[in-house]
Symmetry: C2
């Protein structure tokens, strides 16, 4: 029916010019083929799973253990205890080692990714130990720290990550914990100078962690060398605090109740000279500080720049949660009639929410796959690129997750609010992901900043003319051009305002202008993320096995069209798209939704099956059972 509406619109708009476009015909074939060519789920799963397939399969199988079955009846303490048991059993199975953080990063990530399919507390508690603490020691430490890493691999030394302070979240450079080198004893003396400098939100610290990677401002010979990281023992083997250490329990949270976050105060805590993670800076026995990076800010940037794995795992966790949510909600909607025999999945309002969620989930999964390749390949610009891409994808994926899971929850009605149906608890547990590992608004500004810097440097003040895509036969190439143009348009607009301010009042005025336009800076971060993610999707779809291409092309187009919808103001206000063209965008997106929903959603259901989530990890009775026989 939506395609009928499209025809009417097309007839309406017959006079508009048509652009040359080589893949348009291909597109048309692909889209119409999708209705008949279902992507074989196994093949799709292979396509989506590029590395460590066997390991992933083994961990998924391991998670069939009854210990990993959901239990929503527990108190906070009960759930913490269960989570500790789960972590211990998982660590005991030795699927991977903390040394893999450096030696085999894909394996390291693959193992941890599997856990979030089971439970986010399990994933985060393991992630704090292996990624944040272990990874930091592996990356910033040297061979002398390998004993500690080996003790982490057996969980003899449960780890924590002492970066954030009560007063300093986004501003890590501003932490106040101090570490002063004492040449006499060859020790560092660590202190919490005031309550705002107490380490806060530190996962594992309330009850379980024995060590912490503590970030502190290092002073050697009276000179401040900026933040450095130290291995600090918090508790002995019996669980008693080490001298000078005090910890408190942050208590219950909105979710993630299995993780025991806490607060740390250090009072003249002495650690040996070897406690300093010394890959980028050393202090010799005589008390001489040496670092190959002279600038304090650059030095800290280099240290912290190697620690993007955590952010990538958060982004991937959000994507994987959306896979679970979409699968549950789409399966239920296809099986749930209301007002007669008509399944609720047949309503356009339902399709618009669930299928846009599905296409967005595919988009970010594929963009994450590409990012992992950039990390693995390395190269001179890799670190900078990884920082920008991981920031944009983390902010984009987690903000999309909030919306997608909320849509899934609402589309399941009351069933979406029932804990065993999984979506509600995921919303609770994961709500932290929009602000941890980087506040999303701050991350979007970091994505925008290099674009603006480059534009100001190149004296860019006007955007290129909009691409000529006035015809209604919207294709992926057109969509890609439109998304790229929006990014350029927003960049140019902001750069022009900054340049104008700078011309009047210098650099400070330019910064003030930027500050006064932070709403547009966030929009630019989104525009970059939309363009980047769509391009990744397009490239991945083009390289996919032929049987998968029709469905992937359809999803990519749907994703791209909805991102044009999200940027509607930019297109309409500049005349890049007319009001009628915008209607055609909606009509095309609706038509694609109709195609995904045809035959009671057979294509959409096949695409969910392509995620390859086994029943014991989907968990939700409404997705793996028959809701009609539901009791209690």
């Amino acid at each position: 029916m939506a395609s009928r509406r499209l025809e009417v619109l097309q007839a309406h708009l017959g006079g508009l010019r048509v652009q040359e476009d080589d893949d348009r015909e291909l597109e048309r074939q692909a889209t119409s083929a999708a209705a008949t060519t279902l992507p074989p789920p196994d093949q799709m799963f292979d396509f989506l799973t590029r590395d460590n397939k066997q390991l992933r399969g083994q961990i998924f199988e391991f998670l069939k253990d009854p210990l990993y079955r959901p239990n929503y009846y527990l108190s906070m303490q009960g759930f913490r205890d269960l989570t500790s048991k789960r972590v211990a059993k998982f660590v005991g199975a030795r699927f991977f080692s903390v040394f893999d953080y450096v030696n085999d990063p894909l394996k390291f990530q693959a193992a941890l990714e599997c856990l979030s399919f089971c439970d986010y507390s399990l994933a985060i508690k393991s992630g704090v130990h292996f990624t944040l603490c272990g990874g930091t020691i592996a990356k910033l430490g040297t061979e002398k720290h390998h004993d500690v890493l080996r003790a982490m691999d057996t969980l003899e030394l449960p780890g924590s990550f002492g970066m954030t302070e009560l007063g300093h979240g986004s501003n890590v450079m501003g932490i106040e914990t101090t570490a002063v080198y004492d040449p006499a004893s060859q020790e560092f003396i660590l202190n919490t100078p005031n309550n705002e400098a107490s380490k806060f939100w530190i996962g594992g610290v309330a009850q379980t962690a024995r060590i912490s990677a503590i970030f502190a401002q290092l002073t050697v010979n009276g000179r401040n060398e900026g933040p450095h990281v130290f291995i600090v023992h918090l508790r002995d083997a019996s669980g008693n605090f080490m001298p000078g250490v005090r910890c408190a329990d942050n208590g219950p949270k909105q979710g993630l109740l299995g993780v025991d976050n806490g607060q740390i105060w250090l009072n003249n805590v002495r650690v040996p000279r070897d406690a300093l993670l010394d890959r980028f800076a050393t202090v010799d026995s005589a008390g001489n500080y040496r670092s190959p990076i002279a600038n304090v800010q650059q030095r800290f940037g280099t240290m912290i720049g190697g620690l993007t794995t955590g952010r990538m795992l958060i982004a991937q966790g959000a994507v994987d949660a959306c896979k679970i949510g979409c699968t549950i909600a789409i399966r239920y909607a296809a099986d749930r009639p209301q007002f007669g025999d008509r399944p609720i999945l047949s309503y356009l309002t339902h399709q618009r929410r669930l299928f846009v969620g599905l296409s967005t989930t595919y988009a970010f999964h594929l963009a994450m796959l590409q990012l992992k390749q950039v990390v693995i390949k390395g190269g001179p610009d890799a670190a900078k690129q990884v920082h920008i891409v991981s920031s944009g994808l983390k902010a984009g994926a987690t903000w999309h997750r909030v919306k997608i899971l909320q849509d899934c929850r609402e589309c399941c009605g009351g069933m979406g609010f029932l804990a065993i149906n999984r979506i509600g608890p995921m919303l609770n547990d994961m709500n932290v992901d929009t602000t941890f590992e980087g506040d999303n608004t701050v991350l979007m500004a970091q994505v925008a900043k290099p674009l603006l810097d480059a534009a100001v440097k190149a004296r860019m003040t006007s955007a290129p003319p909009p691409p000529k895509v006035m015809e209604m036969d919207l294709c992926k190439t057109c969509v890609g051009r439109l998304l790229a143009w929006r990014e350029q348009m927003l960049t140019a607009g902001l750069a022009a305002d900054m340049a104008a301010a700078a011309a009047k009042g210098g650099a400070n005025a330019a910064m003030a202008a930027l500050d006064d336009n932070l709403d547009r800076v966030t929009q630019l971060g989104w525009a970059w993320t939309d363009r980047h993610t769509f391009a990744a999707f397009q490239a991945e779809a083009a390289a996919a096995p032929p049987q998968l291409q029709p469905a992937l092309n359809l999803l990519a187009l749907l994703y791209g069209l909805t991102r044009i919808e999200a940027g509607v103001e930019c297109y309409l206000s500049t005349g890049a798209l007319s009001g009628e063209a915008m209607k055609a965008v909606h009509a095309k997106a609706n038509a694609l939704c109709r195609e995904l929903g045809a035959g009671n959603g057979r294509l959409a259901l096949a695409l969910c099956d392509g995620f390859g989530i086994p029943d014991h990890l989907l968990q939700a009775p409404i997705a793996i059972g028959n809701w009609r026989t539901f009791e209690g």
Copy 2:
């Protein structure tokens, strides 16, 4: 700084025509006065609290009892037990009676509204007992049911509301539970014919309810008379099930853990003839069915039409949660520096989220006040009007709540994820409000339907020309016109499409066209809600005490401008607003945010104080304490 941007834009747009507008000058005075005239919080609280001030004060005071202090450490069962104790103590204080549902509806609502300030489980568990069960019996029953109501007032008979079935949520007319009159015994025999007909999600049924207002298809003398309501005893005084009754526990949910939802199966349960709530239909001893309303659908519509109090309480609960969330987040942001001494409230991105939330909260609170007046005044069209307005406000208020609380949570960073800071648990508990008491998407369609019916009847196919508001000095009158025009535009567009379809294929084709445009139907529901709520805000602000008017006018304008932003496509695609005019809308909204944020948010903070939420109900340490001294 935002005003500087506005000036630049205005200079840029000098050539645009300026419209006559009598309140423009007033507006300008009002807005600039707001910076100096702070609304006295007590006066604002009086303005926002129109009825039962003393009662509300008494209940707030009562909630100082330590029993009502938050405890996030409990298991589901622990929290259920605590909630039962809280309900019992509250009922014991006899602040109001279930008879007030009919006799003094404002008092009834005021008492229950107070509870959601304390805890949503307490509010909902009390609401199920008093509003859904008691109110239904009070409204649909007659004097013979007063004994039951008296027993509800003492909690001797905890009540539940047996409407929803596993298979029938939105489609209440389609419920399958049967009630057959047996003239021989003068009893009704109730049955659950299949599992999908089991009563599902019934609050109180898992453990505590003794009676239920059961909705069932009534058959008398072999004739189906449609759904009717019966008082059915589920448990005796010792808690044992009555003959033929079986209940199961729905178990843990995303939130609202204090409410014990459950499932009911009835197997030849016999209830006396007096168990029928017989205001609109009677069965005499000889087994003759009589009702003043002949049509089954109309009859049920009349019964259910009187039960809007529950929906209004849900809407008001969402508004009150936003008051709490905004107060907590704005106070924290004003006191939380990051990167030097600058409080995070000074960032435009923060202001845009929190102040738009604040203005929307005021808007819906005032619209709810107006709706209550419509209910109290009554009159011939009141029922229909109340249905539409309560549907739009419930859907709008709860969807805004999701966004506003999420923004508040993110703006508080990790502190927003900590349970004691309140926002996270509110997000969990209240997530049900988007689908209970009417699924929001369905409600928005019900708001749109009469508009479309009227348009089709009037053969409306084109919208009136857009209002002439091309000048940049945006005022409330302009905004109101623009919002009204969008509603007309969307109505006319849909009506035209339906008429065109009807001309080709009759009524069925018109319905199919509507079904194929459900995305636009939801948009129309939003457009109605935006226009209605803004008009209510405008009228209330105009009637406010002079000292409050500057601030209220500022908030109303901010709310209206952001609703124009939400409908940007309609304005730009039709040329009602130019791209430059749209930029002026943003600039004006930003300037208003800057005004609310000036002096470290003194105006915004005063407006939060105007909600009059005492510290023991705000609860959050970050709002009532000093986060710098935070420990554990």
